[in-house]
């Protein structure tokens, strides 16, 4: 595992099955529980995933999203891609062809980076209300 700035890149084990998921999630827990975690899971080594593995991925994503962060998948092996498609999970994750690409994607301006400001359509609503009142 290596860290790239605020983004954590972690290698998913070759056999991501029931036996390995617990240790993997435990290892990742420290990063997930941080503020706005940014995690990239490198799936290039994955040869087998079972339902526990898929569940672990979903759990990590859920926990990350709860903390206003994101979890992205990178370098998906054909095996990982097949299983994620088969279990309808692929569409939930953002996937990238390389870990670097996934890390760079976090540098794009996220909605959280925008300053909170009044929505631009407020004036339109006020005009509409005024029109209703006059009518």
């Amino acid at each position: 595992m290596w860290s790239s700035g605020p983004v954590v890149v972690m290698q998913v084990p070759e056999h991501f099955t029931r036996r390995k998921t617990h240790d993997f999630v435990q290892e990742l827990r420290g990063f997930i529980e941080s503020k706005r975690p940014r995690i990239v899971l490198d799936c290039s080594q994955v040869r087998a995933i079972d339902s526990a593995g898929v569940q672990a991925l979903l759990h990590c994503l859920e926990e990350t999203l709860k903390r206003d962060g994101d979890l992205k998948l990178a370098s998906l092996s054909a095996e990982a891609e097949v299983i994620l498609e088969l279990t309808r999970v692929a569409r939930i994750f953002e996937t990238f062809s390389t870990s670097d690409e996934a890390v760079r994607s976090f540098d794009a301006i996220s909605p959280a980076d925008f300053p909170h400001q009044a929505p631009t359509y407020r004036a339109a609503f006020e005009t509409l209300r005024a029109l209703k009142e006059t009518s």
Partner: protein, 342 residues
């Protein structure tokens, strides 16, 4: 009258799914005799071949020589067809050729089960007679097929039959449909061509509505939907909210469970497909999944996703079950508590 010998053997067998733990590429050529024994659209290529030969009026005798190592599968229900199970396939085939010569059958067709071919047999026999060679080999654009016409009187019975066939000098170019069935792609192509009626590989079932065939005992639960063309085999269960679409065939004794979508795929006999899955561009077989788009063969050990159905369906499919049947029975018996008073 003409004779015919069909050879089903395991020679040149590449790793079959049940022998390959983990994942492998599906790019390699799959074993010849095996895919021919796999039930597709209700009946295997081998069984269809034997049925066609047995049903041809000009063919007086059909002998089948089956490699003993091949799993038992339903080759034929025709009582006139004799099946010889042996470990010396070519030796027994040579004996059968001699036997047919003694019975005055001339010429004799020798076909090694593998490719699916649609051939005008009368035209082939005429071509063979005109050529006057001992052996005529049937070819297509890609080269020789394992299909020969032999003059048993000219062909010396003492020679190695296989060498004699491989040295055939005359070549008959087949005009009809050919599928070599040597890869999973070819298997899917045959299914698609069969369902879209591009060849005579017709589904064995009742066409319940245009393009949708269902065999006896198939159960389609309320809310399940089949988009034509598609085939549902014998004793198949398609659970509620499932969608079977784009030239999919679900073979004998399989079960597609609740809410799963099967698209452009083949579910081979005796396979369970779990709940809420998206199976596309694949061939599923027991614990194995060949994904054709990703070119990968996976072994899925999670029984919630895919697993073999227990029962006779594996035998019918012509594929060895991934579990040792004998050992499992033994272990069950071993665990059983002794009955009676102790």
């Amino acid at each position: 009258m003409t004779g015919a010998i069909v050879i089903a053997e395991v020679e040149n067998r590449e790793k079959w799914p049940s022998e390959t733990p983990g994942s492998t590429s599906v790019n390699g050529r799959t074993q010849l005799g095996c895919l021919a024994g796999v039930e597709l659209l209700g009946m295997s290529v081998s069984a269809r071949l034997i049925q066609t030969l047995a049903g041809t009026k000009t063919i007086a005798d059909v002998s089948v020589v089956r490699d003993r190592r091949l799993p038992v599968f339903d080759l034929t229900h025709d009582p006139d067809v004799v099946i010889h199970a042996t470990s010396d396939v070519w030796g027994v085939a040579r004996d059968q050729l001699r036997d047919q010569r003694h019975r005055g059958l001339d010429p004799v067709l020798i076909i090694r089960a593998g490719a699916y071919t649609e051939c005008d047999l009368d035209d082939l026999v005429r071509f063979h007679y005109r050529g006057g060679e001992a052996v005529t080999c049937v070819c297509d654009d890609q080269g020789a097929l394992d299909f020969w016409v032999v003059n048993p009187h000219i062909a010396s019975g003492d020679d190695d039959l296989r060498t004699m066939l491989e040295n055939a000098e005359a070549c008959y170019r087949i005009q009809g449909y050919v599928n070599r069935l040597d890869s999973w792609w070819e298997l899917r192509r045959l299914v698609i061509d069969g369902l879209t009626l591009r060849c005579l590989f017709w589904p064995q079932g009742r066409e319940v509505r245009p393009g949708v065939w269902m065999a006896e005992g198939a159960q389609l639960e309320r809310g399940a939907r089949i988009v034509a063309p598609g085939f549902i085999g014998r004793d198949v269960t398609i659970s509620d909210q499932c969608l079977i679409t784009r030239c999919t065939n679900v073979e004998n004794g399989s079960h597609v469970d609740y809410g799963t979508v099967v698209e452009d795929s083949s579910v081979l006999a005796g396979t369970y497909i779990g709940i809420g899955l998206d199976l596309s561009h694949s061939v599923a077989h027991g614990t194995h999944l060949a994904h054709l788009d990703h070119d990968v063969m996976l072994e899925i050990t999670d029984p919630m996703v895919v697993r073999p159905m227990r029962g006779k369906h594996w035998r019918v499919a012509g594929i060895s079950p991934p579990w040792p049947i004998g050992n499992q029975r033994k272990s069950r018996a071993g665990n059983r508590k002794p009955s009676g008073n102790t």
